[in-house]
């Protein structure tokens, strides 16, 4: 038995070659994801069957056999969904009790939201600086358009309703809770004991109670204790409460991000002579916020959907309008599912967009590849 000598050297380096065909392309994907074993093949077939029996019948109900014309629930005689009310009620779902002649103001505010958001969401737009100035002015422009005064006919805020109310509260809450959350998170990690204590107390108190109790407090209790002349508009009180609530969550999300930044980053910033606020703004927060994006957007989405709770303190947001439709004598019993489905669609579009945007943003900010 001869033993091969272990001493040897390779003359030529091996070249690259493509992976086996069964590992790539559609067939490779199907094998890897759907039919990798007997168990997974069975699950795939069972899932396909489930989709086959549910999806077509849903579309049959929602679209093909739906009733779309009529003036009351009685007109919906078919097997399918009853969408006859949409035509007469769509404006209520969108604008609440806003004066019909003034709808253009809500529409204009919504339209102006696009150029106000673009420079905040995307880098490298032309005229970015001027657009950003507009973004800062937008909340005031929108408030002026919606509420009126200064020459525009004023609309009382109790006429606010429908989806426009959800967007007003949600957007205000989102825009305000991020910076407040950042400050609270920094406060909680501050070296100053008083500041740290205040931040902890605020976060724990606000986070420790249900949002609905805060809303009731703002709507009913506060006016009982506050002098009459201090009374703030109900919608403003709601915005304050919603902002405080999600700021507390936001602070904890961002604190998690801050904790993930290695100590060396702080030290490198300090060693270069950057001050506290400079280090935070230029070095720490950009990184901490980046890793917190999923949590931040999660909080935004939660906040936006929580705006439907205002229905419980007597405001008619889109869900409130849906409920009133469902209890309306003309429609009662015919639009239960339809009302909720219709309302859900609005929320889904907004929340899904936020989610997609955040994934896109994470990809753009990923500096490890490119």
């Amino acid at each position: 038995m001869s033993i091969e000598p272990f001493s040897r050297a390779q003359k030529d380096m091996l070249g690259e070659r493509p992976p086996p065909v069964t590992e790539t392309g559609t067939i490779g994907w199907l094998r890897a994801n759907l039919f990798s074993s007997w168990g997974s093949s069975l699950l795939t077939l069972a899932s396909l069957y489930l989709l086959w029996i549910t999806v077509p019948s849903f579309f049959e109900w929602a679209i093909f056999e739906a009733d779309v014309t009529g003036t009351t629930g009685q007109d919906c005689t078919g097997e399918g969904a009853c969408w006859a009310w949409v035509d007469q009620r769509i404006n209520q779902f969108l604008y609440g009790f806003y004066t019909a002649g003034e709808y253009w103001r809500v529409n204009l505010a919504a339209l102006l939201l696009i150029p106000a958001l673009l420079p905040l969401l995307f880098d490298g737009l032309p005229h970015a600086r001027r657009l950003r100035l507009f973004s800062f002015a937008y909340p005031f422009i929108a408030a002026f358009l919606l509420v009126g005064g200064f020459g525009l006919e004023s609309v009382p805020t109790r006429s606010f309703g429908g989806f426009m109310l959800n967007v007003t509260i949600g957007l205000s809450g989102i825009v305000l809770s991020l910076p407040i959350g950042v400050l609270l998170a920094l406060g909680r990690r501050s070296r100053l004991p008083a500041l740290r204590m205040l931040s902890v107390i605020f976060i724990e108190l606000v986070r420790g109670v249900p949002l609905i109790t805060l809303l009731f407090t703002a709507a009913i209790l506060l006016p009982m204790f506050m002098p009459e002349s201090w009374s703030l508009d109900l919608i403003i009180r709601v915005i304050v409460v919603v902002t405080a609530f999600s700021s507390a969550y936001m602070a904890e999300v961002i604190r998690g991000g801050l904790q993930s930044i290695p100590k060396g980053q702080y030290e490198a910033a300090m060693a270069m002579g950057l001050g506290y606020w400079q280090s935070m703004r230029l070095i720490i927060l950009p990184q901490a916020l980046k890793v917190s994006i999923p949590g931040i957007v999660n909080t935004f989405i939660g906040l936006f959907k929580d705006t439907t709770l205002v229905f419980l303190i007597g405001l008619f947001d889109i869900l409130g309008i849906a409920r009133s439709l469902q209890q309306n004598q003309d429609w009662i019993g015919n639009v239960d599912t339809e009302g909720f489905l219709f309302t859900s669609a609005f929320f889904f579009v907004v929340c899904f967009s936020m989610s997609r945007y955040s994934m896109n943003l994470e990809r753009r900010l990923d500096t490890t590849k490119r």
Partner: protein, 257 residues
């Protein structure tokens, strides 16, 4: 390359760092014990010693990344106290290179280099970029300027970190084990940059275990153990004729293989 040890010859303009009676504790752990050290301008000092001997802590006191409890540290005429203005004044003049590079991962190489000049020195952006390119040239990676740190090798990252410090035009450079986190094949490219810097006359304090580097460029080698300076000498003397037993033991351990 044997420069005479500066402690024998009077420095031209007096010491740029004066540390006297320095004591520091971490909690109840006495990490620095009665350190006295003067560093002349253009002097190159290598500090070595076993881990936990306080060598990193000592240089981190010089730019106040660590506070000390007793004694005084005067850097470039500025005494380090709790006064933030004084601390920032010192940090502007003292560059630091870390073991783990600590580049800012969300900024490009060029932005890493221009950040402090722009925000701390208020240098105009174009000028800061020109300076940055000059130093990136000097550490031999100008072609990486638009990349992000995560796309570079460890050796390249550490060279960027050196360039980033130099962009502030510091009077003193501190190196805290700059090659300890590197793969062996990358140590040389970083040491080459440091040798080049030493030859240009920069005042340098280097905590390192690279004894070849110490022998090649140091004016003085300091050996620390248990929070104190056990021995210091010109490199030839230090390596060939160590005085204390601790130094002998340490040298035998690190030079034995």
């Amino acid at each position: 390359m044997n420069t005479p040890a500066p402690q024998d010859t009077a420095p031209e303009t007096g010491p740029t760092i004066q540390i006297s009676g320095l004591n520091k504790w971490f909690g109840s752990f006495h990490v620095l014990r009665d350190i006295n050290l003067e560093v002349a301008q253009r002097e190159r000092i290598v500090i070595c010693g076993p881990s936990g001997s306080g060598k990193s802590t000592l240089i981190r006191c010089i730019n106040r990344l660590e506070e000390h409890q007793e004694g005084s540290i005067v850097v470039d005429g500025v005494r380090l106290t709790n006064d933030l203005k004084q601390i920032d004044a010192v940090r502007r003049e003292v560059g630091m290179v870390f073991q783990s590079f600590n580049l800012f991962p969300h900024l490009t190489v060029l932005e890493n280099c221009t950040l402090a000049p722009i925000w701390v020195r208020k240098t105009p952006k174009a000028e800061a970029e020109a300076i940055a390119m000059e130093y990136l040239e000097r550490v031999k990676i100008p072609e990486q300027a638009t990349k992000f740190p995560g796309q570079l090798s460890g050796g390249q990252q550490q060279r960027v970190a050196i360039a980033r410090s130099l962009c502030m035009k510091p009077k003193i450079m501190l190196f805290d084990e700059p090659t300890s986190a590197l793969d062996p094949e990358m140590i040389k490219e970083v040491l080459d940059v440091m040798v080049d810097l030493a030859e240009s006359g920069m005042t340098m304090l280097v905590v390192t275990h690279e004894m070849g580097f110490a022998q090649q460029v140091a004016d003085r080698v300091i050996f620390m153990d248990e929070g104190q300076i056990v021995e210091q000498n010109a490199p030839d003397e230090f390596f060939n004729n160590p005085q204390s037993d601790r130094t002998k033991l340490f040298l035998s351990q690190i030079l034995s293989h």
